[in-house]
């Protein structure tokens, strides 16, 4: 993974010093709340229901064991012994004190971490595939380009006060696991007709109040133009994006109102004027790529026979292997999902002791690295098959081996009304009730892949509009109601879910979900997934049953 040089370290140390001065000026009354807001946001600090919330960047979701131990330490010393992983591969603390935030950032800087631009109307953490570098369908490892984009976006002097937040995601595989079609800019590694590697650039995707699927603005871009093309898009957006209404300020609205053709022409015109000035050199790409070179895989890993024996002898282990592993490009290795969706625990939360334990397991079994997935789980990406049985036993002991990846229980869930000052309704308690109701694993496996996403408000942090089933909390005369959608997807076949009908009361949500699942089980074709069935039959059969009693 990328290692900071002296310049990188100087930059984040100076950032900590800057934020310390800003916090002191605010606490002394020299900065008003309005003046301090954009400054603290650009350092990840929100003011929440109970306390500030600090969002820390997980650069394209990749962390090392030392960084995990630091997160554990921060959870113990400055928070209530836990933290939360987000859909954009970031880390959130829910209980830090404002006056201690500079100290937390200094602790993070000591392990090459920061919270720069994790909120505010600026370019955010660049995200990617959690299986980057190890998956079997990869065209090229996207992480070197993520790092190049990370550096370019960090403290960019021209684009730090955009009309609204701006998110970039990069995918290097055939299967899109990074929701790139729902980002302000999506970057795909592709090959052209001459078999050369370059980028396809998408623009104007987004979730939130107005979910829109991104459109291709550049079918093929030579690698050397990556940063100049991004610069051209950002300059057009910075100059022409709407600033009169925050709900219409994202680039998706600019693209929609301008029209893709005209918007593309504006970007192309700008790009022609700058394309030769900020070229990405082959040597720079190679320098960054070297940081992501494959680790020293054992050449005899596939010769192990114990893995198969353990699966035969231990059905629980076999079940976990079936659901929580992903195929690895190197024979004898597997990528392992650590489920943060154990029954009863808030989706995406992890305790300090679990963080420390995961750090130890990463050191022992997976070259000391851990990835954060956009579905709020963790991945140890490089585990030898002969180590899987021991790893599973350790993970079971710390409650991170629930075999429910990609099942109904693997819900994406925002903090909701429990923590977030924007929320209209709670989401954690809804997720909890659903997971407790569908806790029978055989039932979950029978249903198969089904993604439920639950957001506590229209801002849609849990991506409810692209959930196979989306649940959106709304406020109705001071009580919590929920709007259901069906058929959304953030993967290759990107789709925005259709509204099932009127919002339903909180105590009816779990019943509605089980009704939807029953309809699926009764009416599905052989081997037909939930999403495939919704695409085949539409929402009517589900709607009829869910609203039958109304």
């Amino acid at each position: 993974m990328y290692q900071y040089n002296e310049n990188d370290q100087t930059l984040i140390d100076e950032r900590v010093a800057q934020f310390r001065r800003q916090t002191e000026r605010f606490l002394k009354g020299e900065l008003s709340a309005d003046q301090f807001r954009p400054l603290r946001l650009r350092n990840g600090l929100y003011i929440q229901t109970h306390a500030p919330m600090l969002r820390i960047a997980g650069p394209y979701g990749l962390l090392n064991s030392k960084q995990f131990r630091k997160l554990a330490h921060i959870a113990r010393k400055y928070d209530k012994n836990f933290c939360h992983f987000t859909t954009r591969q970031n880390i959130q603390f829910n209980w830090p004190k404002l006056e201690e935030a500079p100290d937390i950032l200094a602790e993070l800087a000591s392990v090459q971490m920061h919270a720069i631009q994790t909120s505010g109307n600026c370019m955010r953490n660049t995200t990617t595939d959690h299986l980057a570098g190890v998956c079997i369908d990869e065209i090229e490892d996207p992480r070197p380009y993520c790092e190049i984009i990370r550096q370019w976006t960090t403290l960019h002097p021209e684009f730090d006060y955009l009309p609204r937040k701006f998110k970039i995601a990069v995918s290097g595989s055939q299967r899109d696991r990074a929701a790139t079609q729902f980002h302000d800019i999506g970057v795909h590694l592709v090959k052209n007709a001459e078999n050369e590697l370059g980028f396809r650039i998408l623009v104007g995707g987004g979730l939130g109040r107005t979910p829109i699927i991104g459109q291709v603005i550049k079918p093929y871009l030579e690698k050397r133009y990556l940063l100049s093309y991004l610069e051209a898009i950002l300059r057009i957006y910075n100059l022409f994006g709407r600033r009169d209404n925050m709900y219409k300020a994202r680039i998706k609205i600019l693209v929609k109102e301008t029209g893709l053709d005209k918007f593309t022409a504006m970007v192309e015109k700008e790009w022609q004027l700058i394309k030769d000035s900020n070229e990405l050199s082959e040597s720079r790409i190679e320098t960054i790529k070297a940081f992501f070179a494959p680790p020293a895989y054992a050449s005899d890993a596939a010769e192990d026979t114990t893995f198969a024996q353990h699966k035969t002898n231990n059905p629980a282990f076999a079940t976990w292997c079936k659901h929580n592993l992903a195929e690895h490009k190197v024979a004898g290795y597997q990528a392992v999902f650590l489920s943060l969706k154990a029954p009863g625990s808030p989706p995406g939360d992890i305790t300090d002791t679990q963080l420390d334990a995961v750090a130890d397991l990463a050191d022992q079994y997976s070259f000391g690295q851990i990835r954060i997935t956009h579905r709020q789980n963790l991945v140890l990406a490089d585990v030898k098959q002969q180590d899987l049985f021991s790893l599973w036993q350790y993970l079971s002991a710390i409650n991170l081996a629930t075999p429910n990846i990609n099942t109904v229980a693997d819900m994406i869930c925002c903090p909701g009304l429990d923590y977030c000052s924007l929320a209209n309704a709670s989401s954690i308690s809804v997720a909890k009730e659903i997971s407790e109701t569908v806790d029978d694993l055989d039932y979950l496996y029978d249903i198969g892949e089904l993604k439920i996403n639950i957001s506590g408000c229209m801002n849609g942090c849990a991506h409810q509009s692209v959930g196979h089933i989306g649940i959106l909390g709304v406020d109705k005369n001071g009580s919590e109601w929920y709007q259901l959608t069906l058929g959304g997807s953030s993967e290759n076949e990107a789709a925005i879910g259709d509204r099932l009908g009127p919002a339903i009361a909180k105590d009816q949500v779990t019943k509605a979900i089980t009704t939807i699942l029953d309809v699926y089980i009764k009416q599905r074709h052989t081997n037909e997934s939930f999403l495939q069935m919704v695409n085949r039959v539409g929402i009517t059969p589900f709607k009829e049953q869910v609203y039958a009693d109304h």
């Binding site: 310049n7 800057q18 954009p38 403290l155 960019h156 021209e158 955009l162 910075n238 100059l239």
Partner: protein, 150 residues
């Protein structure tokens, strides 16, 4: 009131002339509208002239007149309006403007490092007590990740 120019405290000799006010002798800036309406009068004016840009102005519109300007003021109506950062960049890189670019209005000392990087070389804050903080802010960082004007 004093301002900061090229990292030095200096006296400000410039005055902004409002839309509805007659031109006055001395070094003055006017809005793009006033410039367009009173071009000849301003060219004949005894003293230096400059323009005050708002975020919604376009640098393309004034590109041909820049050689007559000795100051371009970027007037921040709110600290979060980032268009002026692009205007500064465009003035320097696209339009090769060599004169003074001065930030004025509601910007924060915390933004001057970025403003300096996109080509702003003078700062006229709302409150004189922000001047020391601006001098500090100009040195917030000693390293950068991307090219810009500076």
């Amino acid at each position: 009131m004093q301002i900061i120019k090229d990292k030095q405290l200096i006296a400000n000799n410039w005055r902004y002339i409002n839309e509805d006010v007659d031109l006055q002798p001395g070094d003055i800036t006017v809005s793009v509208d006033k410039w367009k309406k009173n071009k000849q009068q301003l060219l004949d004016h005894a003293g230096k002239i400059g323009l005050r840009l708002r975020p919604s102005d376009s640098t393309d519109e004034i590109a041909e007149d820049l050689d007559k300007m000795q100051l371009i003021e970027l007037d921040f109506p709110a600290l979060a309006d980032g268009r002026l950062f692009s205007h500064a960049w465009l003035l320097r890189r696209r339009h090769h403007y060599q004169g003074e670019i001065r930030a004025t209005g509601h910007f924060l000392p915390d933004q001057v490092y970025y403003l300096a990087r996109v080509g702003v070389n003078a700062f006229n804050p709302e409150k004189a007590q922000d001047l020391p903080a601006i001098l500090i802010g100009l040195n917030d960082f000693s390293v950068t990740y991307q090219p810009s004007i500076n």
